[in-house]
Symmetry: C2
Subunit: 265 residues, 2 copies
């Protein structure tokens, strides 16, 4: 399903990964895409409605399926040869056209639902999303690369309360739990990431809370273009030893994930 | 595909999530299941070979598919009513029978491939894996619950080198990247977790390195029953404020994921 609203400023892609039509998430999707439509032409990738197949497999490789080797490398080669499947090419085209990416999902087992994880696995191929090298021979990743110049907002609903997934929460803090997505996926391919938009207690919201959360999302989206992005360190700034570990003189002794932010760590 | 070796001591389940038959991962699977067979009856869930569907959806809910509500709660209800799909029930039966769980996968986008994430999403339903309450009214989770008494080993292959996913690595340390699996999935449902078994540079191993890594895995499996497990804190030990955040007197001021380990933090 692709919802297209009236264009105003630029293009946005809203990737949505929730199975149920009558859900709170479906309500937020509707409100959020409408709110963005004031300034963006909004396309929606409703992964469940599309029946998106999240399983990266030999079926992604075209004629290269018979070739031995690493599947991620072969998918990159298939991209270059124009042999990726149509569903992957459609998603790549939507993403390539978007200046703003919104990714909305319920937190399942402290991460994205499989259908969304597989969207990353299949759509963000080498060649399309990463793999270039800069003039100094460094890979263009972590703050640079195939999708640089875009911004991303994650909208995540969690059954748990703010304390449970807060800084010392029993389940781990949500920023660390989603670091593989914010830093490992989005920042890796050059996309600037906004602060998470988290809805807590999402399974037990009454009507007033739904209204409050809907308004909060609308307000967030109204000013999202002016927001600062997360200060993850850029590979090209030299904070790392080549492509390996953080320089010893920076935040010496620390090993927490916060070291990968240059400010507000 | 289910490989069954000769029984000796107990039952092991090896969950395997790699698409390619001629891969290094396939080689490790073969060597690993053979090594375990000296002491265990080993069943294998080869998710790609099985064509496992990782997408939790209304199809999981039997007659409850028409009912509104949270899909995870409804899947738990479907479990109780015996209405989960046959493929999910098969996986639950294999897991219920196993004392040792091995989960082997390549690191894709700093997490498990979608087909494995969906195995968690679909198989670990309420009722089966979690949802009980103890005598004090606390949920039986984080070190207790439906699957307590089992041990799990994660075998993960990474394209990156040891520095890149080490303690100050540019991609984040692998223990934090996989915390949503080790702590968020396995420990949550009561499974004791062993230190990660990580193979670095997995896309560029020469024959000697493959042999070395194969031997290292065999040796690891030979002594795995005697290994200490990760010292994640147990909910029932009172380190948390109910089900919420770590008590303020424990490791005050710290907010890194290491606070959830009671020793070696």
């Amino acid at each position: 399903m692709t919802i297209t609203h009236t264009p105003e400023t630029g293009n946005a892609l809203w990737v949505y990964a929730h199975p149920r039509r009558e859900s709170f998430n479906a309500h937020l999707l509707q409100a959020g895409t409408e709110a963005l439509a004031a300034r963006y032409r909004v396309q929606t990738s409703d992964l469940y409605a599309q029946g998106f197949d999240p399983v990266l497999s030999d079926r992604d490789l075209g004629e290269l399926a018979a070739k031995p080797g690493n599947i991620a490398e072969l998918a990159g080669e298939a991209y270059t040869r124009g042999e990726l499947p149509a569903d992957v090419r459609d998603e790549q085209a939507k993403l390539a056209a978007a200046e703003l990416l919104v990714i909305q999902f319920p937190l399942w087992w402290y991460g994205p639902p499989a259908i969304l994880k597989g969207w990353f696995d299949r759509v963000l191929t080498s060649g399309f999303a990463y793999g270039d090298v800069d003039d100094d021979g460094l890979p263009r990743r972590y703050g640079d690369g195939g999708l640089a110049g875009r911004r991303a907002l994650i909208v995540v609903t969690a059954g748990e309360d703010a304390a449970s997934i807060g800084p010392r929460g029993i389940s781990g803090d949500i920023e660390s739990l989603l670091f593989p997505v914010t830093h490992g996926v989005l920042w890796y391919v050059g996309i600037d990431v906004l602060d998470l938009h988290v809805v807590h207690d999402a399974d037990s919201l009454d009507a007033a809370a739904v209204e409050r959360e809907t308004t909060r999302l609308r307000e967030r989206l109204r000013t999202v273009d002016a927001e600062p992005t997360l200060p993850f360190r850029r590979l090209r700034d030299g904070d790392y030893q080549g492509t390996r570990a953080l320089r010893e003189d920076l935040l010496p002794g620390r090993t927490d994930l916060g070291i990968h932010s240059a400010r507000r760590a």
